[in-house]
Structures are given as C-alpha cells and as structure tokens.
C-alpha cells in the first residue's frame, strides 16, 4: 500500500493504522519524518516531481512486484482571497494536490494492472460542495481530482481497479484546521450535517470499505464525511 503525505496529520495516522492492520506501507513526503515503523518504508520526494516518483515506483516494482492500494492523501491546504493569492502559490497547490495525485495514480495503475487488482482512494474536500470563500484555488485543485477520479474509474475498471473519492472536512487532532480561525472552523462545520469535526476512525472506516477486496463494484463513488 502507498500513502502519500505521511509526515504528519491524517497521512501519518493512516500509515500507523494500516501497518497495524498488517499492510506493508510505503509512504512519502517532501520533508523528513521523525518516526519509524515496522513494515513501513518512507521516501523523501516531491509528489509532483515526475522523475522522483518514477524512481520510487521502479524500486517498489522491483522489490514487491505488486501494489494493491494507493491512498492519495498528500495535499497543501490554502485559504486565501483570489486577489491576494500569488501565482506561485497557485502553481504549488495545483502541483502537489493535483499533479501529484495524477502521477501517483498513473504509476500505480501501471503496477496494479499487472495483477488485475487495485484500490485507489483520492482525497477531496467538503469545500467542493460548500464552495467556501477563500478556497478558490484549493477547491479547484480538489475539483480537478474529483473529475479526474471519475474518468479514471471508468478507464481502469477493466483492470480490476476501483477508484473512489473521500471528501473530508476537519479531522480532529490532525492539525487539519490549522490555517483556519475558530470562527471560520465553526462556520464551515455548521454547514455540514454533523456540525462537528471528524474522528480519524471515520476516515479509516470509509477507506477500509473502499479498499476491501469485496469492493470490486464500489467504484466512482464519492463520500463526503459529516454530510453536506
């Protein structure tokens, strides 16, 4: 299993959770990590750098000969008015959030299709249905992932691969809402049905369902936790 963006937050929790469940987990992040886990291998790479990503996948192919699950978690959060968003920031967000997800999906499918089996989970955001002010670029990057995932699901179903989308709001104790003030957090959460932050167990429960071996027909589905 590959999980992107495992240095901290949700990605780190997922790495720990799936190692505990017996998976061989491969994680990555741009910066070094400050933890070690059994059955966990980490790559320090920029997910949008094609040659680094390709090198990582060649190593994985040579060592493990297969890949069952990809969780595209890596992402940069951003909250900024469009008139105050520098172009460089736009490029960085699109590179990490969309180009990174695209590269990992592309290379993963190449590996998964050999065994005619694969599970891909791409992360989106509650900001898509809410169209929250300040999230134009972040939202655009996640909307790109959603549309990409819908078509990817159609293109790779024949390889035994399912592709699903998990849209998150704010997950408790993961540092996810750090770019938001308490007032902004409240406003966002109040627009969800649950009106509360998510637990990491809500996230793992949904991913477990998507990546279950029996979930062959569960593809091109989108779950927005907490409800909108």
């Amino acid at each position: 299993m590959i999980i992107t963006g495992t240095r901290k937050g949700v990605g780190k929790y997922l790495a720990e959770y799936y190692v505990d469940k017996g998976f061989q987990v491969i994680g990555c992040s741009r910066e070094m990590i400050d933890y070690e886990l059994m059955n966990y291998k980490h790559y320090n790479i920029d997910v949008s750098d094609e040659s680094s990503v390709k090198k990582m996948f060649i190593e994985i192919r040579k060592k493990y000969h297969r890949l069952d699950v990809l969780i595209n978690n890596a992402g940069i959060a951003s909250m900024n008015h469009i008139l105050l968003t520098p172009l460089k920031e736009v490029q960085e967000i699109l590179n990490t959030n969309f180009i990174g997800a695209y590269l990992f999906c592309r290379e993963s499918v190449k590996l998964m299709q050999k065994n005619k089996y694969g599970r891909i989970v791409n992360f989106s955001s509650i900001h898509i249905p809410l169209a929250t002010v300040g999230t134009s670029i972040y939202g655009a990057s996640k909307a790109a992932i959603e549309q990409f995932s819908k078509i990817l699901a159609k293109e790779v179903f024949q390889f035994g691969i399912n592709v699903n989308i998990l849209a998150l709001s704010i997950v408790k104790d993961t540092g996810m809402g750090n770019v938001l003030t308490d007032e902004m957090k409240g406003k966002i959460l109040n627009r969800s049905i649950s009106k509360s932050e998510l637990n990491i167990s809500d996230v793992t429960h949904t991913i477990d369902f998507f990546i279950n071996e029996k979930s062959t027909m569960i593809t091109n589905q989108s779950v927005c936790l907490g409800g909108v």
Partner: protein, 101 residues
C-alpha cells in the same frame, strides 16, 4: 544504435506476443507490424498493456526510467506508436537523450 534498436524490437515483440499470443504463428510480429490503427491486432486495453509492458521491460533492461506517452511522443510528425519499428526508433531516441542528459 542499430544494435540497440534490434534489442528494443525484440523487447517489443516479446511483450506484444505475450499479450495476443503467437502459438500458431511464431513469426507473427516483425518491425513492420502495426501496433496502432485499423490493422493493428490490439484492442485499446491491449494497446495500453503493450505500452506499459514495453516501458517496464525497457526500464528493467536498460536501468533507465522512461515514459513513452509523453508530450514529445504526441508532438512527433510521425506517430511513434504506428509500428513496432517506429516505436523502437522512438525509444532509441529517448534512451540516447537520457544518456546525454
């Protein structure tokens, strides 16, 4: 260059043969065999398998990471995916560029 091209043609033929099977005709593929378009023996899924398989075998044989479906391939005057020979020519160019990088 020619040696390289012949090796690459062998790799492509091996991958192509694995995909469609050549039990009844061992000489089914040569460098002039079409791999894309009306006369090609591959459906769209098999074509994807061919490109991915060739990419992976080239990476393993030459220890170099390549992506066949890149922007260069799409902008070539002659479609590099037309025949086994044209694909081999294209791969030789990619490998040369990588070596000179």
């Amino acid at each position: 260059m020619d040696n390289n091209k012949n090796e690459i043609i062998k790799i492509i033929i091996k991958v192509a043969s694995n995909i469609v099977g050549t039990e009844n005709d061992k000489n089914r593929f040569d460098s002039n065999s079409n791999i894309f378009g009306e006369n090609a023996p591959f459906d769209s899924l098999e074509f994807v398998n061919l490109i991915v398989g060739v990419e992976q075998d080239i990476e393993e044989n030459y220890n170099m990471s390549i992506t066949l479906a890149d922007e260069k391939a799409m902008s070539e005057k002659e479609n590099p995916f037309k025949t086994i020979g044209s694909l081999a020519d294209y791969i030789v160019v990619i490998l040369d560029e990588k070596l000179n990088d």
